[in-house]
């Protein structure tokens, strides 16, 4: 699916502060994946394991923005994707990870890594490769311009299919009202 093919749309996907549930819902379009493969070439995505996003037609981003690496990846997607789509509750409003937003980050880290009862030898993770967490978890549209939103936790496979089918057919994507769900 990764060979470039003229006339096919190039699509990238990623999960930031998400659980990959939206990607699972994407895979839930089942045998329509074969039809999609006729029209789409995958760029950076966990499905290809390509590490850098090249110029793309569509970027599907799952999850909110919770650390410095998320900001970096999201900006890479925005730079490269003609159409950027926030997929799922976390990308749209921060979702579950954002439930920490009313807590102090330092206190959170201390409790989890140092003072939590049952920790044999707590220590604060300080590997330089670990991305620094942000003070608050943000929805995508607070960091970059987002073109389309697919709500849901996860969005129904039908909603993802309907969106991609619209893009492939060159139509303005529109989520049918019966597929709008926030839960």
């Amino acid at each position: 699916m990764t060979q470039s093919a003229p006339g096919r749309l190039r699509v990238a996907t990623t999960s930031l502060a998400g659980c990959f549930g939206c990607h699972m819902s994407f895979l839930d379009i089942d045998e329509r994946l074969f039809e999609l493969a006729q029209h789409v070439v995958l760029d950076r995505t966990p499905l290809t394991d390509i590490k850098r996003c090249g110029p793309c037609d569509v970027g599907l981003v799952e999850g909110g923005v919770c650390n410095a690496e998320n900001v970096h990846v999201l900006r890479e997607f925005r730079r490269n994707c003609r159409v950027l789509v926030a997929v799922g509750a976390c990308a749209i409003n921060g979702g579950l990870p954002a439930q920490r937003n009313h807590l102090d980050l330092g206190t959170c880290l201390q409790e989890v890594y140092l003072t939590e009862p049952g920790l044999a030898r707590g220590c604060m993770p300080d590997d330089p490769e670990l991305p620094l967490p942000l003070d608050k978890v943000h929805p995508l549209h607070e960091v970059v311009k987002v073109d389309y939103f697919l709500p849901g936790c996860p969005p129904p496979a039908e909603a993802i299919w309907s969106f991609l089918a619209d893009v492939v057919a060159g139509r303005e994507p529109r989520v049918p009202r019966e597929l709008i769900r926030y839960d």
């Binding site: 926030a86 509750a89 749209i92 409003n93 921060g94 979702g95 579950l96 954002a98 439930q99 937003n101 009313h102 608050k136 943000h138 929805p139 549209h141 607070e142 987002v146 389309y148 939103f149 697919l150 709500p151 936790c153 989520v175 009202r177 709008i180 769900r181 926030y182 839960d183």
Partner: protein, 245 residues
């Protein structure tokens, strides 16, 4: 319908009884006007502004606008729908509305109205306020994160239950729901799980404990049919039916 006077809602004649508001008459005739703080059992309040329409050259809350013969009311215009969407989006970012973990999901009026208006994202910066919950009461949970300040619980507790358990305090963005007890906790009030104030909450603020998922997600009120298809359910009931309850 014959002999009754009527007004025009988006060009369609809507009959009304003397004393009815535009909202009441519209709902009774099966026409939906998006609303949050209006409830058939209470005196219209006109505070959420979601039901705002244009009539007689003015924008006005349809829940408090008396129906008049020949009045021309515009409701489903792109401009008014846009304003409604923005109002709903502002409610979403002012509180913490995390539908996937809310046991009211599918029965929530805020969510249903947002679906109806085609809201896909709040599109504004979220405020992420810090609002601790009150789980002090043995039968009830209070989650202030989801309050939309409709004052239905305030009205129900004062007018129907005769207990005055709830009130709003503060102004503007600082306005919030409070509990009328010296401790500020629900356990120190006379509220009971059978109170109208509990029943009437349109969102997931006042919740009965231990029944949250008795009806599974997917089979709830607004899962079954969109709020616009249930307009008649929100219409004022005939007085006889009201007395029976």
């Amino acid at each position: 319908m014959s002999g009754r006077e009527s007004f025009l809602l988006d060009g369609t004649p809507v009959p009304f009884a003397p004393g009815e508001t535009v909202m009441q008459a519209a709902l009774a005739a099966g026409h939906y006007i998006p609303h949050l703080c209006y409830h058939r059992d209470f005196k219209p309040h006109g505070s959420c502004k979601v039901c705002t329409v244009r009539a007689g050259g003015q924008t006005v809350a349809s829940c408090t606008l008396p129906a008049q013969p020949g009045l021309e009311v515009e409701s489903a215009t792109p401009e008014l729908e846009d304003n409604r969407r923005t109002l709903v989006q502002m409610l979403f970012v002012e509180g913490n509305h995390f539908c996937p973990s809310c046991e009211k999901s599918g029965n929530c009026l805020l969510q249903a109205v947002a679906y109806e208006l085609g809201v896909l994202s709040a599109d504004l910066d979220h405020l992420f306020p810090s609002r601790p919950i009150d789980a002090s009461h043995p039968d009830l949970l209070l989650d202030f994160n989801r309050c939309i300040l409709c004052e239905l619980c305030v009205r129900a507790s004062a007018e129907v239950d005769g207990k005055g358990v709830f009130a709003l305090s503060g102004r503007g963005i600082g306005k919030h729901l409070i509990v009328n007890a010296e401790s500020g906790r629900l356990v120190d009030t006379a509220i009971a799980a059978t109170d109208k104030a509990v029943d009437v909450c349109p969102v997931g603020v006042i919740l009965r404990k231990r029944v949250g998922f008795a009806v599974p997600i997917g089979r709830r009120r607004f899962d079954v049919a969109p709020v616009s298809a249930q307009a008649k359910g929100d219409a004022p009931r005939p007085p006889r039916e009201k007395e029976r309850r």
